[in-house]
Structures are given as C-alpha cells and as structure tokens.
Amino acid sequence: AQSVTQLDSQVPVFEEAPVELRCNYSSSVSVYLFWYVQYPNQGLQLLLKYLSGSTLVKGINGFEAEFNKSQTSFHLRKPSVHISDTAEYFCAVSDSQSGGYQKVTFGTGTKLQVIP
C-alpha cells in the first residue's frame, strides 16, 4: 500500500514570488507520482506526472516537480506565481508494478493562496 503526506495545509505567497509545495510518499514498491490542481467548485485537473526517466518533470501552467527517490519526495515548484494559481493542490501516488488497474492514493491537499 502507498501513502502520501503533504506537509503544509496552506501556503500563502505573494504574486510573482516562487513557491514550493511539499510532498512525501511511502511505498514498498516503485511508484508513479502525480500532482493535481482543484479550483473552487471544480474537479481535479492533472498538472504533471512522473512515470520514469528524467526526475525533473514539467507540467502545465509553468509548474514543475522533481522526483527524489532517496528522500521519497515529489515537491512541486513554480518560479513565479500568479493570482490565477490560487487553488488546492493534491499530490498522489500509484503502484507502478500492479498488473491490474491504477489505484491512485491522494494526499490531504495544500491550499495555495496567492496574495496580490
């Protein structure tokens, strides 16, 4: 079984400042990692995912994340945030070795508040 820990429930940041949202995971097998964004009253939208290969993954809206296997982390970063980035961000993990379907486990989310 896998689990995900998002260390910060809320992160306030000024507009145009950089931001990092932290995510750590736990798993006994190799994993796929995801970041989703949820805008108010909307569903989840995939920002980016790590499957294999390069540990630095670039996603939509200028976000990127780095997979660190030794630290079991997958932190999300953006060099300069905009007001429109205000949303809740979920880190998620699934088992890459399962021969069956992809069961995704989510963290509890981090609310990013961009301050004008």
């Binding site: 989840l44 995912k49 499957l51 379907y101 992809q102 069961k103 509890t108």
Partner: protein
C-alpha cells in the same frame, strides 16, 4: 462537452433518504473510478470498474453504498439510508485504458452531497 459529466452537481438529502449519483464518463473510456472527498480532505478511493465489471469495491465504507455500471458506460453510485457522515463530494473519474502504466485519469466536477 467531452469531459466526465456528473449529476446532480448538488444534492441535499434528509438523513435516512436514499440518493443516486450519476456519472457519464468520457466516451469509450474503459476504466471508471469513484472517489469520496470529505471537507478539507483529499479524495478517497471507493470503487473501480473495468467496462461493466466492478473489480474493486474495497473502499466502499459500508453496505449502504452500492455502485453499478451495467453497460460499461454510465455509472451510478447509490447510497441508502444516508447518514450525516456521508456528506462529501463524490468524484467520478475515467481513463481510456485498463488503467496501468500511469495513464491520465480524468475527473468530473463532482456531486456535492449534504445530509441534513
């Protein structure tokens, strides 16, 4: 649109009432997932369908919860004798393949259930 569609978007039920939540996945998608998202929490897995077969219902919290996908397309999540703890957003998601390999899962906007 071509996304995952859920109805109703909002439902207020009296305690003890039965409710049915509908999900129209993206056309042709093989995999369908239901998740429950309580206030301030991340989505929690409920059940998984591959076409019409329910392959995993390990996340259903009690026997009051029942899901079906009889023709391998539209799915319904039914909650009998609703309780206040059932208040949550119910998210439906679909994926074009059988789900392995880290393929993107597409989420609907959710059905917000409030039990009073």
């Amino acid at each position: 649109g071509a996304g995952v569609s859920q109805s109703p978007r909002y439902k207020v039920a009296k305690r003890g009432q039965d409710v049915a939540l509908r999900c129209d996945p993206i056309s042709g998608h093989v995999s369908l997932f239901w998740y429950q998202q309580a206030l301030g929490q991340g989505p929690e897995f409920l059940t998984y369908f591959q076409n019409e077969a329910q392959l995993d219902k390990s996340g259903l919290p009690s026997d009051r919860f029942f899901a079906e996908r009889p023709e391998g397309s539209v799915s319904t999540l039914k909650i009998q004798r609703t309780q206040q703890e059932d208040s949550a957003v119910y998210l439906c998601a679909s994926s074009p393949t059988r789900g392995q390999g880290g393929n993107t899962i597409y989420f609907g906007e959710g059905s917000w259930l409030t039990v009073v």
